[in-house]
Amino acid sequence: MEKITRRKFLSVSLAGAAAGALSASGQALGAGNFMGYPEGMGVLVDLTRCIGCRTCEAACNKEQHLPEPALPFDDMSVFDEIHHGGQKRRTDENAFTVVNRYDQIQGPPVYRKIQCNHCNEPACLTSCFVNAYTKTKEGAVIYNSKVCVGCRNCMVACPFRIPAYAYSSALNPVIKKCIFCYDTRLKYGKPPACVEACPQGVMTFGHRQNILKIGRERIRTNPGRYIDHIYGETEVGGTAWMYLSNVPFEDVNFDVTLQKEPILANAQAFLSQVPMVLAIWPALFLGFHRLSTRGNEDVDENIKSSNREESQS
């Protein structure tokens, strides 16, 4: 009696575990400390050099075959636009990069270009349940619209609020964001269109490791000119696009509260529990069942019958 019960006990546990494992999955496969591909490219954006000419926006628009904007790219009134919620302009389905002007209390205004920062360990990628995103070895975070279901979790997850959604489309709404000109340029070792077009040399394109060195060098050789921080070096695990600034980063609307660990690290507290729950719960609750119904004649019949569960679930 005891022997049979134990065997059955185990098989039921296994059945439960199988039921769970089938659905399973949650294990985080990404390494927690992935710091980007060693050969990955990056761009250093030096805000002190930007004059707000919007040439980069125009270049991006042309390269990515985006629709013509309502106001031409040489119209500087866009800097005064106040959008919904008192916000300055942001990236959307028709503009993968945007320059905003930030007036300072002292000194001239500072212009800041925003686009996808191409994180080393992107939150959009790790939050996507169909793997629509890929971090290429060249450093670009690209997106496969063929598998996207449209849950928009990537937009919730992106700490820089970059991905935009084609809400206006009914039949094929997809995510739109900067892809580092991957298809047309980066793949062939060429810098993205915005970098090449910039008349001020605001952006420096190169291996991420190298441009980090360039950034540090610039801070060192120009005492007092820069804030002693390269934004993107460590934020959310590091980004391919990084920034130098002469004003505190929060004054040009950077989120300076971001964590150093990749966003995925936050979910790991939960994800690491998943296999444990799958493995422990069946035995635990079957144990409770045995303990609380001992002597009840239903029990043996139940245990017997739950063996069938194996084939069922």
Binding site: Y167, I263, Q273
Partner: protein, 448 residues
């Protein structure tokens, strides 16, 4: 319905017509043993059907409009606010309110508390309905809903919390359909299928606990992707999934109390006498469970604040909102449930349960919408978005009611009507209820 019941009508509750001794046909069962004309007449007399009719007449065209012109035409979902009411309410609220299935399944099947058997089927159905409609809300919200099976068959994003949610909700929906199908098989008279479901009940129940633990928690873990967007008081990297799981326990239990209250008020004709007479004692039992979950939830929420040292936020406007949520949605129901249990005042318990349900709605909407982007700007849902959300909820109520009217959820199916009239116990092996079931459980006075 009430008036025709008064005139001696008895709804179908066995395979054979009592008067003519003829077996009911399937269509006849669908019409509850009434002729189509009689059925229509009673339906038109019910003012609630008119309310539903108006909602559907307004809402369904808007849903069609959404699929023709895209999400942007009906929602205020934006690049800053990717998720609106459809997920904020439809997914994040409906799922915890539907935890009842696994909770009562565990209580009855696993812990062998057969005294909760009468309410178990309602709890299971409540679970199935909530999950099913969470998926319906999701389908309206997804940009490309026809790709919903993609995470199962096309591409696996295994590191994503949403991947776990997707799989678990899909598998759990299957489990719940099987659990509820027992009453369906009774109704259509497929005894073999019912027997099969009974045999695998324990396995289904344990699968239910595993899946529920993980995906209720996973809904909370989803927000750990947005540490800079959810307000710190509602965010907890370590504990958010435990908050969501723990609160789903009292949410599910209180939802069953709330639904059973509505059922008792509006469709007593469909309930068997025994179900009604034992409802109060079962309500007290559910309330005891819910109050333990409530106090636990309150304590761990405090631990969460202490852990991240967020006391200073309590002095801000957001902090007052947080305190209001906890006071009105946790402390108040805890007090009401406790008072009701102590003094056996079922009416107070029911009030407490409704308060707790409201508290859960507030908590999930707070996390997903109101405090989301708290340092950016607040978004108000589009009027059409709200209309669609209300329409789907009305559809949920209508479907729920359709099933309750028919399947043996609130009454026991009588295989042979001759036996049933002898007043035998409806729910088998009820300890202490054998013999005089009604008398044994009717010692609690009903306040209403």
């Amino acid at each position: 319905m009430r008036s025709i019941v008064k005139n001696g009508y008895q709804p179908v509750d066995s395979p054979v017509d009592r008067v003519t001794k003829r077996r009911w046909g399937f269509v006849e069962k669908l019409f509850l043993g009434l002729t189509p004309r009689e059925y229509l007449n009673q339906a038109l007399k019910n003012p609630f059907n008119w309310v539903l009719g108006v909602i559907f007449a307004v809402g369904f065209p808007i849903i069609v409009y959404r699929f023709i012109f895209g999400l942007g035409s009906v929602t205020h979902s934006s690049n800053d606010y990717p998720w609106g009411l459809f997920l904020g309410f439809g997914l994040f609220v409906m799922v915890p309110l539907s935890a009842s299935g696994f909770l009562l399944g565990t209580t009855v099947e696993l812990f062998g508390r057969k005294d909760f058997k009468p309410i178990e089927r309602l709890a299971l159905l409540n679970g199935l309905m909530g999950y099913f409609f969470a998926v319906v809300y999701l389908l309206v919200d997804l940009g490309q809903p026809w790709r919903l099976p993609y995470p199962m068959v096309v591409a696996w994003g295994t590191a994503a919390v949403l991947f776990l949610v997707g799989w678990h909700v899909a598998v759990y929906l299957t489990v719940q359909i099987m659990e509820v199908s027992e009453s369906f098989f009774e109704w259509v008279h497929w005894p073999m299928a019912k027997k099969f479901i009974k045999r695998i009940t324990i396995g289904l129940t344990i699968a239910g606990i595993i899946l529920s633990t993980l995906h209720q928690g996973a809904l909370g873990a989803l927000f750990t992707y947005a540490p800079n967007k959810v307000h710190p008081l509602w965010y907890s990297q370590e504990f958010l999934w435990i908050f969501f799981f723990t609160s789903s326990i009292f949410a599910g239990l209180c939802m069953v109390i709330a639904v059973s209250t509505v059922v008792k008020k509006t469709m007593a004709w469909r309930c068997s006498e025994e179900w009604l007479s034992r409802l109060d004692s079962q309500t007290i039992g559910l309330a005891k469970g819910a109050s333990m979950a409530l106090i636990t939830y309150f304590v761990i929420k405090l631990i969460g604040i202490a852990h991240d040292n967020e006391w200073a936020y309590l002095a801000t406007g957001w902090g007052q909102w947080f305190v209001l949520e906890l006071a009105g949605g946790v402390i108040l129901p805890l007090f009401l449930l406790g008072y009701g249990i102590r003094n056996e005042r079922v009416g107070i318990i029911r009030l407490g349960a409704f308060t707790a349900v409201a508290g859960i709605v507030l908590n999930r909407i707070n996390t997903a919408l109101i405090t989301f982007n708290w340092d950016l700007y607040q978004e108000i849902p589009h009027i059409l978005e709200a209309t669609i959300a209300v329409t789907l909820f009305a559809l949920y109520i209508a479907t729920y009611r359709f099933i309750l009217y028919r399947l043996p959820i609130l009454y026991a199916w009588k295989p042979q009507p001759a036996q049933a009239r002898e007043g035998a116990t409806e729910w088998e092996s009820v300890p202490g209820a054998l013999g005089q079931p009604s008398a044994a459980y009717s010692d609690i006075s009903m306040p209403d």
